[in-house]
């Protein structure tokens, strides 16, 4: 029971991370294609300004919770995914540093350099996280000792890449919607248009991914066994469709919430399908790491549950307050302030 609660919490942490940092990453990928000049760039960076740092901590916490609640999974997963994980870390370092350093100096070369870093620091995490999760759904070639029998290219299989593309598109739409909310004038319009256009390839890839999941993974097993669970993918697909309807009506906040629901639903669809596996082996199901053979002791799980149930709600409350505090559009007045990116 404790293990199952922690498994669900683990899934929720990932879902919230993708929902929140998803728009930061999406805007970062979108930036080179949509920003006309330095001002546009600065609007983009400042629309994630007060939020991105707090958003990223959901990833750190998801990692920390994997370590705390499922240490064996943490050990095997991070060992097996060594190269992609370190790439992810370097990319996130560059994203963070680009945001902090770029605006500090006027020089064109300096700013270009950090623009490139910010793009790579947004694109690579989106892609890598998608590839990693698709591979986890599919199963990773780990042997009975948890040793990874493959290399980076083993992960770059068609299904894995499809997962990567899906994540990039989900985040692109999500980020474009956030920019439509936060920017003013032509940039906001361009962002809204981009969200509408990018939605079509997203729909296509989502459909292909759901179909491929039937053949490449065992995720649907849990759904066939418990038909009530179909609610999750149904709500997700509905949210995706509603996103497009609200984009057409230029209801940006509504569209962004629908897009958030799509991301959360997509994550939970995968996580629930995975249960009770955390890191399935593609070589032999007996080698798979599950919540039962990789979790911490009941005492640790209990203490951690107390901590999580106390502090995560507090975090949610103050983060909502922060979103409320900075709810307006990024204005030229905001850009003029000394602290702005």
């Amino acid at each position: 029971m404790l293990e199952t609660i922690w498994f669900l919490l683990w899934g929720v942490l990932w879902a919230v991370y993708f929902m929140l940092d998803g728009f930061d990453l999406g805007m970062g990928i979108l930036a080179p294609f949509i920003a006309g000049d330095d001002t546009d760039r600065r609007v983009i960076y400042n629309s994630m300004g007060p939020f991105w740092d707090g958003n990223e901590v959901w990833l750190i916490t998801a990692g920390g919770v994997t370590f705390a609640a499922f240490p064996t999974t943490y050990a095997v997963m991070f060992n097996a995914l060594y190269t992609p994980l370190l790439l992810l870390l370097f990319a996130l370092i560059f994203r963070a540093v680009a945001l902090e350093f770029r605006g500090k100096i006027e020089g064109q070369g300096w700013r270009k350099l950090w623009d490139v870093c910010h793009f790579l620091g947004s694109f690579l995490p989106a892609l890598l996280l998608g590839v990693a999760f698709a591979n986890i759904f599919k199963g990773i070639p780990i042997d009975e000792e948890g040793m990874f029998q493959g290399n980076l290219f083993t992960l770059l299989n068609p299904y894995g890449l499809l997962g990567g593309i899906l994540f990039v598109l989900l985040f692109l739409v999500h980020g474009a919607l956030w920019l439509a909310i936060k920017a003013e004038g032509p940039l906001a319009e361009k962002a809204g248009k981009a969200a509408g256009l990018l939605w079509w390839p997203l729909l296509l890839v989502a459909v292909v991914f759901l179909a491929a999941t039937w053949f490449a993974t065992g995720l649907y097993g849990n759904y066939l066994a418990n038909p009530a669970l179909w609610l999750i993918p149904l709500v997700t697909v509905a949210a995706l469709l509603v996103t497009r309807v609200l984009v057409a009506r230029k209801a940006w906040w509504g569209a962004w919430f629908a897009s958030s629901l799509t991301i959360v639903g997509a994550t939970l669809f995968g996580v629930v399908g995975l249960y009770p596996n955390l890191f399935p082996s593609s070589l032999d199901p007996a080698y798979s790491l599950t919540i039962f053979n990789s979790s911490s002791s009941p005492l640790t799980l209990k203490i951690m549950l107390g901590v999580a149930l106390t502090f995560v709600p507090i975090v949610i409350v103050y983060q909502i307050w922060v979103y409320y505090l900075f709810r307006g559009r990024v204005t030229s007045d905001d850009l003029a302030s000394d602290e702005a990116y």
Binding site: D53, G54, A68, F101, S296, T300, V315
Partner: protein, 439 residues
């Protein structure tokens, strides 16, 4: 080189680099919070200017501290997976608690503080920087509890082929952790005080913004002197704790080979590791070592020969790091007393000002050496007496770790250069000319 050596080097690079930024975050956040609180209390715009100027340097430094901390957390899994599997039940939960209790708070409110100058009342805005300061210091506590557990494991049972939590309270409140925390934050506050004094001295030497930097200097001098003097006592208490919990490490810090009753302390020693003796050992003060380390002048101080060679830490490195750290600590205490005595008119003593500028790197060096003692002195154990470092690493290809190590060195060097260039640029530029209160 084998994978273990490469992984150790990678962790060392990541830790040293991370700890270039952490101490200034811990201390400068408090100084900026004090400045802003004074602004709220007095309405004096000069304090707001101070909070903004020092806050800008704080933020540049903060960014690197955060991102380099993340790589440390993840490396336990990527490079030390056998360790993570064996102790994750305890060690992992401490890191997860740190993230949910402190790291969220710190990262969320730094954004509010940075972008919220106009959106919040001055009081609410000052609360934000206090939250950042409190959260980063609480964060340090959890991380040091985790590190202390590696130095002195308590509150566990070996069950199911791993270390499992038996007594959470014992882990979280063990005195080793408490003293280590006090030792580390005092060092961080000293470093931050010297940073502010050094930058202020740089401007005072050039006669720029004299009132502004005199006020900054004064505040930092008081802050630094308190913790520099306290550190002498705290460092001693932490040392006694270490001598009790890790006698082999203690023997290496003093390069004592033979077990001695009423051990003397030699002011000048050159260890000779190969021959298990000291090449030079002069100016001994009788019984001082036993008295300092054990609290009993006739106490029995264990020598390194008590342990078989494979159970000893590297002696010369631990010894020199410890000696130089202690020397620097005493030197910094002396300098901070002088600075404090001259705190009202530092601009009248150019010699002092020059000394303060050149002193900026010293506490950095002391902190890095301190971690060298802590981590190298624990060897050959990753968890003292429980698990050897050699048994803890992930099984990876040497090429994998070799490439990532090279990437760490290159990326971190470039980021370090960029960060310190920015800090130098903004520190030497001085505060914005128009008092912010006028706006």
């Amino acid at each position: 080189m084998d994978v273990i050596t490469l992984s150790r080097l990678q962790f060392a690079v990541a830790t040293y680099f991370h700890f270039l930024f952490v101490p200034l975050t811990l201390g400068l956040s408090i100084l900026v919070a004090i400045m802003e609180t004074r602004y709220v209390g007095t309405g004096d715009g000069e304090y707001k200017r101070m909070a903004k100027f020092w806050g800008k340097l704080f933020v540049i430094n903060f960014a690197l501290g955060v991102v380099t901390g993340i790589t440390l957390e993840f490396q336990f899994g990527t490079n030390w997976s056998r360790y993570s599997r064996y102790v994750g039940d305890i060690f992992g939960s401490l890191l997860a608690i740190e993230a949910s209790v402190a790291f969220f708070l710190e990262s969320t409110f730094i954004g509010v503080w940075l972008f919220g100058w106009k959106r919040l009342s001055p009081k609410a805005h000052a609360v934000c920087i206090w939250l950042v300061a409190a959260a980063s210091n609480v964060s340090a506590y959890w991380i040091l509890v985790a590190n202390s557990w590696m130095q002195h494991p308590v509150g566990y049972v070996i069950r199911n082929g791993r270390a499992e939590l038996a007594d959470f309270w014992a882990v979280v409140t063990q005195s080793y952790a408490v003293f280590m925390f006090l030792h580390v934050i005092s060092a961080a506050y000293i470093l931050s005080g010297f940073f502010v004094m050094g930058v202020s001295a740089y401007h005072l030497l050039r006669g720029r913004d004299v009132a502004f930097f005199k006020r900054s200097f004064r505040m930092a001098a008081t802050f630094a002197v308190i913790f520099a003097l306290a550190e002498i006592v705290i460092g001693d208490l932490h040392g006694k704790e270490m001598a009790k919990a890790q006698p082999a490490k203690a023997a290496a810090t003093e390069s004592v080979w033979e077990t001695t009753k009423g051990a003397p302390m030699y002011l000048f020693v050159i260890p000779d590791e190969a021959n298990e003796r000291n090449k030079v050992e002069i100016l001994g003060i009788p019984k001082l070592l036993s008295w300092v380390a054990l609290g009993d002048k006739d106490g029995v101080y264990k020598g390194l020969k008590e342990w078989p060679k494979q159970d000893r830490p590297p002696v010369a490195l631990t010894f020199w790091s410890f000696r130089i750290m202690v020397g620097l600590g005493l030197l910094l205490a002396l300098v901070s007393v002088i600075a404090w005595l001259k705190r009202n008119n530092p601009d009248r003593s150019p010699v002092l000002l020059r000394l303060m500028v050149y002193s900026i790197p010293l506490p950095y060096l002391a902190a890095q050496l301190g971690w060298t003692v802590t981590e190298m002195g624990r060897q050959p154990w990753i968890v003292y007496g429980m698990m050897r470092t050699a048994d803890a690493a992930s099984r990876l290809a040497g090429s994998q770790v070799g490439i990532s190590l090279a990437a760490f060195v290159v990326v971190y060097s470039l980021l370090g250069v960029a960060c310190y260039y920015l800090i130098y640029r903004f520190a030497s530029k001085g505060p914005e000319p128009i008092p912010a209160a006028v706006r």
